[in-house]
Symmetry: C2
């Protein structure tokens, strides 16, 4: 099993690299690079965690009070389309975004007390999922797996 644990912000090198990727995506699509998109992408990649548009907006408007919620919202959608972020909806029904690098598919452990989100990947489970699908003649394209419970910290402090 591959253990990721909690996310942390990425290094400057990766961030720069990703921002380049965003730029080429924009150019390719005939879209424009703007100060707002640049700042929002930077902040998003630095935070690294699963954030809602609202959370990211609040963070950004501390530094740049002229950037509106709508732009943050639209930029996250854009990052999603460009392959730099994924959208996730957990049990609280809020849409969260997380930076996505290459092929790092993973699932989540979600603490129902403190809300912390931990990532993991388990190839054995994935193989079994494929097998289950096969038995139904089902062709699985993606999956969603979340475990809800108490994280180590909350369990110990109970």
């Amino acid at each position: 099993m591959k253990i990721f644990g909690r996310r942390t912000g990425e290094g400057i090198k990766q961030i720069t690299q990703k921002k380049e990727k965003l730029k080429s995506f924009l150019k390719e699509k005939g879209l424009k690079s703007t100060r707002q998109r640049d700042l929002i992408a930077s902040e998003f990649l630095q935070i690294g965690e699963h954030v809602t548009a609202e959370e990211l907006y609040r963070e950004i408007s501390k530094k740049y009070s002229d950037i509106g919620f709508t732009t943050v919202y639209r930029t996250l959608k854009l990052l999603n389309k460009s392959g730099l972020a994924t959208e996730r909806v957990f049990a609280d029904n809020l849409t969260r975004y997380e930076p996505l690098s290459a092929e790092d598919h993973h699932d989540h452990l979600i603490c129902i007390k403190c809300g912390s989100i931990t990532e993991f990947q388990d190839l054995k489970i994935e193989r079994l999922q494929t097998r289950v699908a096969d038995e139904f003649g089902f062709h699985a394209m993606s999956h969603k797996m979340e475990l809800y419970g108490y994280c180590k910290k909350c369990k110990d402090n109970a």
Copy 2:
């Protein structure tokens, strides 16, 4: 692996039994049995499939035009609290309800073309989930697992 396949409505015997269970739940909580609750519960149990409040309402108002959406909505919440139904939210972000009998925990295969929902249970996967959680010192209380892709029918007709 236990295969459930698609749900079908339940037999009259089970339905009557469940409606008794609802009645005792209501009595116990100091709530009232009403014509509406009775009809909504019947219809819900007969349909058997995963339905949204909206869908169930549309079905019911064909027969009983005096029953409002709000009551259907509230009755589904009630069935949930009484343990006769579970709430589920899939990728389309709509809240669906399904009849729940005793301990039949299961997961879902969801067709991204026709929307059909198939149920399955796989104990091996569940054991692995527990193991993953353990490695993080995480105490899992529940989980959610959905596989999205093409069902046999849609795959074959492609």
